[in-house]
Symmetry: C2
Subunit: 203 residues, 2 copies
DNA sequence: CATTAAAACGAACGGTCGTGCTAAATTCTC
DNA sequence: GAGAATTTAGCACGACCGTTCGTTTTAATG
């Protein structure tokens, strides 16, 4: 069957699947090994042996979530041609990742960032690095839209990315807290305004 | 001295002061009674007696934070005359509340919302109600700017408030996680774009 | 100042946390 | 299928959690 799927790796993947789901509900910091073990259906110590420390479990969970994000958001959006079309695809995928998933709990990375932004350590470091990379990737996608002639040449990519991120955050916040999906439409209107009247350099 | 400041109320206030500070660092959920007691310099049971339950402590902490917010943000901004001037004042005050405070930890309400958005109970209910009220207040401030002729008559107040909130969230997120104050400037540029090219109805 | 009420304390409770250790069970390799 | 390696379980530990209770200290009242 799968080439390198030893039993250990298989259960490890299953654990991380459950860890993502559980952490989205209670938070990455409130993720307990006992609770996770019960959810997966194995012993606490058996699960623990896969990671050796709680912090490792947290990091592994974040990395697994990032992998999923890349597949469900970035990868899919990058099938659209460069330009606003890809930008819209990315935004739409991102929206459904962050605020419209069926299972409870929003975006793990966003929640974890808010949770760990004052807790120094590897988890925070990972999140910060991840954020830097994502911001860069967003800026690049905007640049492609400029290159395609879909956006004015003097569009400020970084400012655009910053505001785009704000739209996602606001949607995430309101949809999750107020349980009102109409904010998804607000997000889309915000994107259109960004496209029609984008932020520009020296303006 | 102060009229109704029995000893009990005084220490209760001191406790809540410390609770806000501590909760901003570790999160409202990770707030422990023992840790808070140590910080305040009193016994665990003595502190506990003031609230009777941890959830009451959490709620009291949130209410105390809201009180501060009203005084430091809303109240001050409302001294400016209605219109964009007040809008700018509000935004600036809000910015320094959320992302530029000296002490560690960002905005408690934002962090708590992200932490409790999937944890049913009084804390979540309080946060949701608070958010509804704030969104309404924001919209009203925008409406004043329309009435003063500073914004087009067909400006969409709710959409405006939604995007404004996104700017604050994005700033909060980036400043806290990446420790880079230059995002404050991004926030201000976002506000200017909102004023110059606001979202409109039927557009 | 004496009395009473309020507030703070100290010790203890049952539980759960993360983490070692050792033994049993399972999977992999030849 | 035998033997080695990996994976899982069981149990115990010290620490800390929220909470209770009885006592002692402190503040308010006449």
């Amino acid at each position: 069957m799968s080439r390198t799927a030893s039993k250990g790796e298989a259960t490890r993947d299953a654990i991380l699947d459950a860890a993502i789901a559980l952490a989205r509900e209670v938070g990455l910091g409130a993720l307990t090994i006992g609770g996770l073990a019960e959810r997966v259906g194995m012993s606490k110590s058996g699960l623990f042996a896969h990671f050796g420390a709680k912090e490792e479990l947290q990091l592994a969970t974040l990395k697994a979530a990032q992998l999923r994000f890349d597949e469900q958001v970035s990868k899919v959006a990058f099938q659209a041609p460069r330009g606003v079309e890809r930008l819209r695809a990315l935004f739409e995928r991102w929206l459904s990742w962050a605020a419209a998933q069926r299972q409870p709990g929003g975006c793990l990375m966003i929640a974890a960032a808010s949770e760990f932004d004052d807790v120094p350590g590897p988890v925070r470091d990972f999140l910060a690095e991840q954020q830097r990379g994502w911001l860069l990737g967003l800026g690049r996608t905007v640049q492609f839209a400029i290159d395609s002639g879909d956006l004015p040449a003097d569009t400020d990519c970084e400012q655009f990315a910053f505001e785009l991120f704000g739209l996602i955050l606001s949607t995430h916040h309101h949809v999750r807290l107020l349980n009102d999906a109409h904010f998804l439409a607000s997000a889309r209107r915000g994107l259109e305004r960004l496209i029609v009247a984008p932020p520009r350099h020296n303006a």
